[in-house]
Symmetry: C2
Subunit: 179 residues, 2 copies
């Protein structure tokens, strides 16, 4: 399965109104703190991979997940192969990774408000240090039709898929540091 | 906290009788399959570290834990610093590690019958390809008194702490391959 995802920068109030008009189903809000790690010898910036520990907090408490993202397999929709699993104790996992030579190099903090809409997940992200973004995503074995559906839904939400932001929040944060 | 552990090779039937006489409390039996990984660039054989994924199966099902063991900090009792946490999906964790450049190089399979006895855990291990062993272990902030207690308990079990096997099952298996 591939993750197909389109993202644009957009004011959330407008999009929330369109989601309500389309009958979208609110899925709740979470806070996420992602710590990205450097590989002991590989330059993830060059290999286009990412490895992170995510702590997600909702009303029920905090959960930790570890994720590896492979290089892009489909440029236009930012599609990557991804492996992710939950871990019992996030702090221990972080200590272990550091002992193995992985070093934390950037943290991304955001508030995510999710909706289910026409088979897609629409997420309103407020990212610390960056601003407001909207993501439309789904998982699919077949990339192209999933991408076309995401473009159609973006248009229904009065968003312009042509303004797609292909850079990850991590990348945007790193770029903003360089400025 | 440090893990203090003494291990000897010993016939289990004798030890089980002594454990019963000492009023030890049976804690059940599990099967463990440990997969040890090579670091992408560090030689764990030289740095005296280990990194493994353990699948443990009991009556309730299978659980996966990931463990990093640091180099020895106290030679005589095999004491190491250790980080361990449970993971939701062992197979995904293994795929992720392989993508990051970790390669599986040896598997250790054993049946472990555990008892609680005088503040220690006594484990009767039957290790595939090696034979029968007994481990006496505990966790302690203060190494020396914990080690002295382990020696005393070994003696009470009619085992000879002087015959301590300092090599891990992994090391013993690797040695047996070289013979």
């Amino acid at each position: 399965m591939y993750e197909v995802e389109l993202k644009v920068e957009a004011d959330h109030d407008e999009v929330r109104r369109r989601l309500t008009a389309l009958g979208a189903d609110p899925l709740g809000t979470v806070e996420q703190v992602d710590t990205y790690y450097e590989h002991p010898v590989r330059d993830f910036g060059e290999t286009d991979e990412a490895f992170r520990v995510r702590r997600e907090t909702d009303d029920e408490g905090t959960e930790t997940r570890v994720t590896y993202k492979g290089p892009l397999v489909e440029e236009s929709s930012k599609t990557r192969e991804e492996f992710e699993t939950g871990v019992e104790d996030g702090e221990t996992m972080e200590r272990m990774l550091e002992e193995l030579g992985f070093e934390p190099f950037e943290a991304v903090e955001k508030r995510r408000e999710r909706f289910a809409c026409e088979g897609y997940t629409v997420t309103l992200d407020t990212v610390a240090g960056l601003g407001e973004y909207v993501e439309v995503e789904t998982e699919a074995a077949d990339i192209e039709p999933a991408r076309e559906g995401a473009v159609a839904l973006m248009t229904d939400l009065d968003l312009d898929p042509g303004e797609q932001v292909r850079t990850s929040y991590l990348g945007l944060l790193l770029e903003s540091r360089d400025e």
